[in-house]
């Protein structure tokens, strides 16, 4: 009786066991979408994997570890099976690794082409050996021999598995309608898709191949207009940079999910400032930079004055206007050639040079401030200057006017020197790393760009029609233009205050006073003839006194540092900190560099960053290039720059230094600093 019981139990148990081995983590079966085979058509079958909780199987690219499921078919003659039409997988993290695979349940669909000559009514068996790796924390290779028998018929019906096939089709990638682009810049890969992205929440990319991207790194997606931009990090174990990228891209919009195929060449991203390596690109950037210079606060009034003169002159002889345009252009070009020549001579003499070095001289800064102050006074109406300056329009008719126009061009260049327009930086650095004629060529392109707007106005009369008609507004506008000039002078005075001491500022202000007084006397000399000679000599004395005062402005010996967490940059200090494995952040700045000050204001001097620096024990080294400093110039050049700002972060240890963008926010700095350190050969 007892024996019988055990026997019954045993048979019951063996019967209740499914046809899978007990140890299998994945139960696989071969299923079809329809109930019958129709000759000549396509049969939709699939390997259905039911995966134990906590376990997973892999996609065609398994990611950092694992193996994809493989199927070997045993088919009757005339049948042919496709590859697996993989549904887009999940990202499955395991420790520091990321795998691409499936959990729960997955159908791996395959299409089987059927021959035409199948006898109706017959039963056909298709067989497959499926092999997969099932992994949780450990991995088990599993195998299953699967068969499926279906009748050959004229018509068929959906099988019980049909809904599963339908559902799986939604998980398979669709072809993407719209443009796809891939860009690579150093270790960063950007995928760009154009389309409508209403309700977009997230996107993830699944590469077809290994060793293209760092699987474990978080992927960032953002929408910019009609573009979805997905940012990935390149797999940096190999030096060879991939030139194309393909895979599935899964786009989530709320609870909706749809994946698409992505396949694009990887083009190098746009060259950034400081990395211009091609003369044509350098020329183009110099030219564009020159055009943009016209909009700078101190240059714009000069251009406006010239344009105003043209408005007054609209009835005058065209020939004179055209000549004036060329003379102005020539004035700009000659000034740039002189500037380029002087810089080249300085370089030849062994000086460390860079754009803006002229601003390191307090005399130059003082002189420029004075010049802007005087122009402001003239524009503001302190004196009419014998109509010769402000009313340049009338002068155009005279030969003397061309000389004035020439110097207006020169003036535009001088007041433009504190400004570096976008594009210019890279072009100028390139200019000074090449032979002298390339330097002058690039300077010429910069000059042509600067002169272009005025040249167009003179050469193409219809352009003048877009300027308003002459009237009282011109006087008011001219007077208004004095104020940007004064503002620029105030800024330069502040730069000077950082370069010199109270005595230097006193001398500078005295010079401004002397010039102002001289101008007032000039006004008087215009009206009282008998005193003219006497007054003019007094003017000369005051002007000379002013010039003398400016020339006496000396750089201050020391610069006071207000930062509590910073140290003054020196190569020695940097090396010492690096040797001690300390992380270091280097900020190269100058008082006359507006970008630098902006960055300090909105990023570097924020509480958020100071806390971050303190927390991560990062030393903040600040190098001041306001005055000449060969050590800093050499340092800048080692990063392909010859101007400020430059921000470099040195992670602890031997990792490569990270160069930060020239425009900062506190968040971008933190992101850059928390980036994985890059070992090996530095770019």
């Amino acid at each position: 009786m007892k024996k019988l019981f055990w026997l019954a139990l045993l048979s019951a148990l063996s019967f209740s066991f499914p046809a899978f081995a007990e140890t299998q983590k994945v139960q696989a079966s071969l299923v079809a979408e329809h109930t019958a085979i129709i000759p000549g058509e396509t049969l939709h079958v699939g390997i259905l994997q039911k995966i134990a909780p906590g376990w997973h199987t892999y996609w065609r690219n398994p990611g950092d570890s694992g193996l994809p499921t493989e199927v070997k078919w045993e088919l009757p003659v005339g049948f042919s099976a496709s590859e697996i039409n993989w549904p887009t997988p999940e990202r499955q993290p395991y420790g520091d690794l990321i795998n691409y695979g499936y959990s729960g349940q997955v159908l791996l669909p395959v299409e089987i082409k059927l021959p035409d000559n199948l006898p109706l009514g017959q039963k056909v068996t298709i067989a497959a050996r499926a092999e997969w790796l099932a992994c949780a924390d450990i991995c088990i290779p599993e195998t299953a021999d699967l068969t499926l028998t279906l009748p050959v018929e004229n018509i068929n019906d959906f099988s019980q598995h049909a809904p599963l096939f339908k559902e799986t089709r939604l998980q398979q990638p669709k072809e993407f309608v719209g443009t796809q682009n891939g860009k690579i810049k150093r270790d960063v890969i950007e995928l760009e898709l154009t389309g409508e992205w209403k309700g977009f929440t997230n996107a993830s990319f699944f590469p077809d191949d290994g060793m293209i991207i760092q699987n474990q790194t978080e992927q960032k997606s953002e929408i910019k207009g009609d573009k979805l931009i997905l940012t990935l990090l390149r797999d940096d174990t190999t030096i060879e940079v991939p030139n194309k990228i393909s895979g599935d891209i899964l786009i989530e919009s709320g609870s909706n999910k749809q994946s698409y195929r992505f396949d694009a060449m990887l083009a190098p991203a746009d060259a950034q400032t400081g990395e211009v390596t091609n003369i044509w690109l350098a020329l183009l950037f110099a030219f564009l930079g020159g055009i943009i210079l016209n909009l700078m606060p101190c240059v714009f009034p000069i251009l406006s004055m010239k344009a105003l003169a043209l408005v007054r002159k609209s009835g005058a002889e065209r020939k004179h206007i055209v000549t004036g345009g060329w003379v102005y252009t020539f004035g700009v070009l000659v000034s740039f050639w002189i500037l380029g020549g002087v810089l080249l001579l300085l370089r030849a003499a062994g000086a460390e040079i860079g754009w803006g070095i002229q601003l390191q001289s307090p005399q130059f800064v003082g002189g420029l401030a004075l010049l802007l102050f005087v122009i402001g006074l003239l524009l503001g109406g302190l004196t009419d200057f014998g109509q010769s300056f402000a009313n340049v329009g009338n002068e155009l008719a005279h030969k003397r006017g061309h000389l004035g126009t020439f110097f207006t061009g020169a003036l535009a260049v001088i007041v433009a020197t504190p400004c570096t327009a976008p594009f210019m930086g890279g072009a100028i650095f390139y200019a000074f790393t090449q032979s002298w004629w390339v330097t002058l060529l690039i300077m010429s392109a910069l000059g042509l760009g600067l002169a272009l707007p005025y040249l167009i106005l003179t050469l193409w009369p219809p352009a003048l029609r877009y300027l308003p008609r002459p009237g009282l507004w011109m006087k008011q506008f001219k007077e208004f233009l004095a104020f940007p000039m004064f503002a620029a002078a105030i800024w330069l005075l502040w730069v000077l205050a950082r370069q010199t001491d109270a005595m230097g500022i006193l001398l500078m202000l005295f010079a401004a006073w002397a010039f102002g007084f001289a101008l007032w006397i000039w006004q008087q000399s215009e009206t009282t003839r008998s005193w003219r000679l006497f007054l003019r000599s007094i003017i000369l004395i005051w002007v000379l006194l002013g010039v003398f005062a400016i020339s006496k402005v000396q750089p201050a010996r020391t610069i006071a540092w207000a930062e509590e967490i910073s140290a003054i940059f020196s190569v020695e200090k940097l090396d010492e900190l690096r040797a001690a494995q300390r992380p270091v952040f280097v900020n190269m700045t100058a008082s006359w560099c507006i970008t630098c000050l902006m960055n300090e204001k909105i990023a570097l001097n924020t509480q958020k960053l100071r806390d971050y620096f303190t927390e991560h024990n990062i030393t903040y080294l600040k190098g001041d290039w306001t005055s000449r400093d060969p050590e800093i110039t050499t340092y800048l050049q080692s990063f392909g720059r010859n101007g400020v700002p430059l921000y470099v972060y040195y992670p602890p240890g031997d990792a490569c230094p990270v160069i930060l963008p020239q425009l900062l926010t506190a968040d971008t700095v933190i992101e850059k600093l928390s980036q994985p350190p890059r070992q090996g050969e530095c770019l």
């Binding site: 950092d64 450990i138 960063v188 978080e218 174990t237 030096i239 070992q679």
Partner: protein, 200 residues
């Protein structure tokens, strides 16, 4: 344009992974490690010799494929015969598959599979593995006599757990070792390693 690209570059920088990576051709990190005999070594101690690093997990089917067929032991013996140093590293942490609790357990495993490598290193902290960016078992590295990373990646070209694939596959490790010996160009110098994830 500069501004836009600067911002784009700045925006794309992502969270830090703990797993480092060494670029092929770069100086191999000079890790200090203690082998199962309690002897301390540094990678730089073997300067002038070719070094093979092999990541091991006794239970991993991909590792078993090479040890149960005797292929790994054969490769180890051959490498050592040419004067190379072969270091087998186990970076699986305590409580995970493949972890070896102590040097005794490691020696028992070495005895069982008749391992032929120069030395065996237990790295349960994962420091050694993470420094080299070892992702799977077996993950293979070849360091040349100058201390430069000459090869990293898979042991061979067929990603499977089946021993019968060994003879059909192209052995990348042997190829790299031969090229290092001849001083010729290593190709491929980086491949995608396959296997079980290292259990850090």
């Amino acid at each position: 344009m500069k501004i836009i690209s600067t911002f784009l570059i700045a925006l794309m920088l992502c969270a830090a992974p703990a797993l480092a990576a060494v670029q092929t051709g770069a100086q191999a990190p000079d890790v200090t490690f203690t082998d199962v005999n309690g002897t301390e070594h540094k990678i730089s101690d073997f300067k002038g010799k070719t070094i093979v690093l092999e990541w091991n997990n006794p239970e991993c089917p991909f590792v078993k494929k090479f040890y149960e067929s005797g292929e790994m032991q054969r490769l180890q013996a051959e490498a050592i015969k040419t004067g190379a140093v072969w270091i087998t590293v186990n970076s699986n942490k305590a409580g995970e598959q493949g972890h070896l609790a102590d040097d005794k357990a490691a020696k028992a495993y070495m005895e069982k599979v008749k391992i032929a490598s120069t030395t065996y290193v237990r790295d349960p902290s994962g420091d050694f593995g993470k420094t080299y960016g070892a992702k799977v078992t077996p993950h293979m590295y070849v360091i040349d006599g100058n201390g430069k990373l000459a090869y990293q990646g898979a042991i061979d070209s067929i990603k499977s757990t089946k021993a019968e694939d060994i003879t059909k596959a192209e052995n990348y490790l042997v190829k790299a070792m031969t090229a290092v010996k001849d001083g010729s160009k290593i190709s491929p110098a980086s491949t995608e390693a396959y296997g079980c994830g290292v259990k850090y």
